[in-house]
Amino acid sequence: MRTFLKILAALVVVGVIALLAFIFVPVQTTGPKTALAADYQVPDGAGAYAMRLADCAACHTAEGGKPFAGGRPIESPFGIIYSSNITPDNETGIGSYTLDEFRAALYDGIRKDGAHLYPAMPYANYRKLSEEDVRALYHYFHDELKPVNNQVTETKLDFPFNQRWGIRAWNWVALPDAQFVPPFQDDQLNRGAYLVQGPGHCGACHSPRNDLFAQAGYTAADDAFLTGGEIAGWSAPNLRSGASAPQSWDAEQLALFLATGRNAHQAVTGEMTLVVEDSLQYFTDDDMAAVVAYLRRIGTNGPAPESSAPASSGDKSPAGTPTPATSENDTSKLLASADPGMALGPRLYLDNCNACHFNDGKGASEVFPPLDGNSLVNSQNATGLISVILNGAELPSTAKRPYRLRMPGFADRLSDDEVAALATFVRQGWSNNAGAVTADSVSALRKQGGEQAAEQSGGR
């Protein structure tokens, strides 16, 4: 018995020591994966460009705040995480970071003081950054940018998520190997794979999360990679299925959407708006072509066909051209009948939506997104659609398409029941086939929406 107790005590002691070591022994950080020449100089402009590729602005710039001075609230399932100040301010930013410390934050999610960053920082993806891009980012944030003294709100999650040491364990199981491995024999495809997997960190939103809330796959070798995720309650669509954008749009339309947030098929909404505005519009044509080529290559059912079906949008028909009355478009016929006895959903569509999106639900190329076949409309989770009906949506201003085209919100015009009826009609009209929307789900989003609308009208 005494022997047993001795062994038990010893085990407890070992356990406690191990736990203390786990909490307090500094994590081994990852060093450079490529040895650059001793006199390596970051090329002119490479810093700012790497910043755009990695889309640092979207999270590290607050609404109305100074660029990269942090403080933007990021919603996570565990609570609100505030982004950090990454300007080179010594007191509140990263001014005192060495290159190795900076790389550790990008690769390992380790702060200068050794604390773990919450994985809202996509270090699991940035682990793939080339040493050239790490150096470029360090140069940009440490040497080019002007320091901004801005103490951001401290992130305070509930227990146990406020115990940052726990992330160490998560990192063991969740993190992929550092360093990007080119999967193809083709330079363009490899460049695209690098941009998507690494700096672009597309998987952070567009891949599902596993039970440990880790990204389910970091390369296309994983079946789940880029097959759709969720962010702030909105669906981030699948990018690999047969019906997905990269698989069903042609390369030109995909590039146009990524660079401008609009094309013949879709208009950008939700968090992706910031990705277009702060990051994708700055991609060089070559890099954009590489991203497009890669995304079209990694379809679940194999590469996308060279020339996809032509744009489904009715953009070539002059305004007022009647929709051909075929049995396939009962919805169009119903709307065109303008029958005063029609149900609430189509009547609301006619009164509120038809002017721009038309009775064929096909809108107008690059200006009014089609609703027929639209991924936001048909998403299993209707949050995005309901939010757009309530609060409207605004396209970002980009170099190729500067217009901040904005759809008005209808929150002050339609009741919860009406929004539900309208959304249900749109989700089931034309060729759409998605679930009904309840007034309760509208009500919940309406409460949230008031705050978001106030933020949006402030602009950036």
Binding site: P318, A319, N352, A364, S397, L405, P408
Partner: protein, 589 residues
């Protein structure tokens, strides 16, 4: 106490079509630019958003988008011996206000003047002899030809995304277009809009009489469109709320849809709203401007904004007012004929015939601002001035440009204008009337001009501008000629009845009923500083760093809506500034 702000390279007065265009073109030169707009900022959403903008009472009757006379107006008289009185209630014309200016509330009818209109005096001299010009008529050549402007018309039409059907491409006549138009270098950027029933009936009747109907060129997009600035239009849905309204649908060509978000991306361009320019400040030698002084409404103070160049891009009347207040060009004196600033104010001579068809349904709730079929068979280039006894011409048009439920209703004369009789009339006639209109030229005259009013002052203590304008026999003969032609066409169309409304002999200018917001002249362009206020590059003759945009440059009014020419002149002037003036600032002529 005036504040002085840091110097700019360019200050632009007014942020409508021409201010936005000049901003865009000059920003490309890397200049630091500030645009000052006295009205509010305006965007499609929320300012024109559906359904709030489709409010006839607020926008159509109460003029929400227009200037408030208490803030800005002018005095008007008809003859030199009348005392001018302030225009206290908007009526005859509706100057716009706010970002986008008149480009927000127009209908979108976008024309190129005829080749002959740019050289009107020379055209008459060559073909009819100068002695057919009445003694008091002061018409001039523009100093720029259609051929010189063609690339800039093209540029404006492609920026504005005009829907239309070319009639003459490089001399080749195109079926279905206007065979009388001057040659264009290529087709319109968008195909024509579809037509309403009234337009189709008119076109058929006109065709049967041997005339040449064609679709009216429209700043209402027939399809989705992306312009060379990357700006975008969506297809027009014929909602019928166009003139007096902002477009809820991103379909009407406007500074908002065609320029502004592209311009706002330029780091060297800024604009301020609620900033009314009070005067252009001049150097001691009065040979150049040094900037402008404006009223900063939010700060409640006057601001001196120094600038190396001043672009007057306000509404035509306000450009002239600022020139008169600032001493740019010698004020015109109608008695001596001396002076240039304020000279040759002109308007537009319009008329129309309404036809009643109890058995037709015109669906008048379906309309677009530039909808319509037109004939130019009686255009300026087609009229024998010597034979017909007038100088001028019209285009003749039918189409539903206005689908507003109340203002859009036409009823036979004699129907009560209120009460139960009116309601009965509306029930009986709504949807059963169409009209054919004449949109005609207006010549300039010795005693039609703009100067400073001797009595009335505005809220800033500045003298109001005084307009002296009246209808003249030449133009009344022109519109009566058009009446005869239109009634001939109407007579073939099988209407139960029709009624006409044209100025007749002895008609005096009446400022109360709305006529048109095509106020032109007053700062006319030309090649002789004794006869014009600005040279052919829109540069003030006596202040070389002041350029004056807008229809104030027209020496007399064209037979068309002015915006196409205003846009082309803006690009023409911008080109001269960029290629000739900036490398060596000086008088360009």
């Amino acid at each position: 106490m005036a504040r002085t702000d840091p110097r700019k390279d360019v200050v632009i007065v007014g942020l409508g079509w021409t201010g936005a265009i000049l901003g865009m073109e000059l920003a490309d030169e890397g200049l630091e630019i500030l645009a000052l707009e006295r009205g509010e900022d305006r965007k499609t959403v929320p300012d024109f958003e559906y359904p709030k903008i489709a409010d006839e009472l607020r926008y159509g009757i109460r003029y929400e988008l227009f200037q408030r006379p208490k803030n800005s107006t002018l005095t008007i008289r008809r003859t030199l011996d009348e005392t001018a009185l302030p225009y206290r209630h908007l009526g005859s014309f509706l100057p716009g206000d706010g970002v986008g200016g008149a480009g927000v509330h127009w209908n979108g009818q976008t024309w190129r003047p005829m080749r002959e209109e740019f050289i009107l005096r020379s055209h008459i001299k060559e073909n009819f002899g100068l002695d057919i010009i009445p003694e008091d008529m002061t018409i001039e050549d523009w100093g720029v030809t259609y051929e010189e402007l063609e690339p800039y018309f093209d540029r404006f039409e492609y920026i504005a995304g005009i829907s239309g059907q070319a009639g003459n491409i490089n001399g080749k006549i195109i079926e279905g277009g206007n065979p009388f138009e001057a040659p264009r270098s290529r087709d319109y950027p968008l195909p024509p809009l579809p037509h309403t029933l009234d337009a189709e009936m008119f076109a058929k009747a006109a065709r049967d009489m041997g005339y040449h109907p064609f679709p009216r060129p429209a700043g209402n997009a027939s399809q989705a469109y992306t312009n060379p600035y990357g700006m975008q239009l969506g297809p027009c849905n014929f909602c019928g709320f166009c003139e007096r309204y902002g477009c809820l649908n991103y379909s009407k060509s406007s500074p908002q849809t065609c320029v502004l978000d592209a311009l706002k991306r330029k780091p060297n361009f800024q604009y301020r709203v609620n900033s009314e320019v009070l005067r252009v400040e001049l150097a001691d030698d009065r040979k150049t401007a040094t900037g402008v002084t404006y009223w900063d409404e939010s700060a409640g103070e006057e601001v001196f904004q120094p600038a190396d160049m001043v672009i007057l891009a306000a509404y035509s009347l306000h450009n002239v007012h600022l020139m008169l207040l600032s001493g740019i060009g010698q004020p015109y004196d109608p008695n001596s004929g001396q002076g240039v600033t304020g000279k040759n104010y002109a308007y537009q001579m319009n008329g129309g015939t309404t036809l009643f068809f109890p058995d037709k349904e015109f669906n008048p709730f379906v309309g677009a601002g530039s909808n319509g079929m037109v004939i130019d068979d009686f255009a300026i280039s087609q009229i024998d001035f010597a034979k017909e006894g007038f100088i001028g011409g019209s285009y003749i048009v039918s189409g539903t440009t206005n689908g507003q439920p109340i203002r859009g209703i036409s009823m036979p004369r004699g129907t009560p204008s209120w009460g139960a009789g009116w309601k009965k009339g509306v029930q009986e006639w709504y949807g059963h009337a169409m009209s054919i209109g004449s949109h005609g030229s207006n010549m300039s005259y010795r005693d039609c001009y703009l100067d400073l009013d001797p009595t009335y002052k505005d809220r800033h203590g500045r003298p109001l501008m005084r307009m002296t304008f009246n209808w003249k026999p030449n133009d009344i003969r022109m519109t009566q000629f058009m009446r005869s032609r239109i009634e001939e066409i109407a007579g073939t169309m099988g209407a139960q009845s029709w009624q006409s409304s044209y100025k007749s002999e002895g008609a005096m200018y009446d400022v109360r009923p709305y006529q048109t917001t095509h106020n032109v002249g007053g700062a006319i362009m030309g090649t002789d500083p004794a006869h014009s206020a600005i040279n052919r590059y829109l540069q003030a003759w006596d202040k070389h760093n002041v350029f004056v945009m807008g229809a104030s440059a027209f020496p007399q009014n064209i037979q068309y809506n002015p915006t196409g020419a205003v846009g082309a002149l803006a690009y023409w002037a911008a080109h001269a500034i960029r290629t000739d003036y900036l490398p060596n600032p000086r008088p360009l002529m």
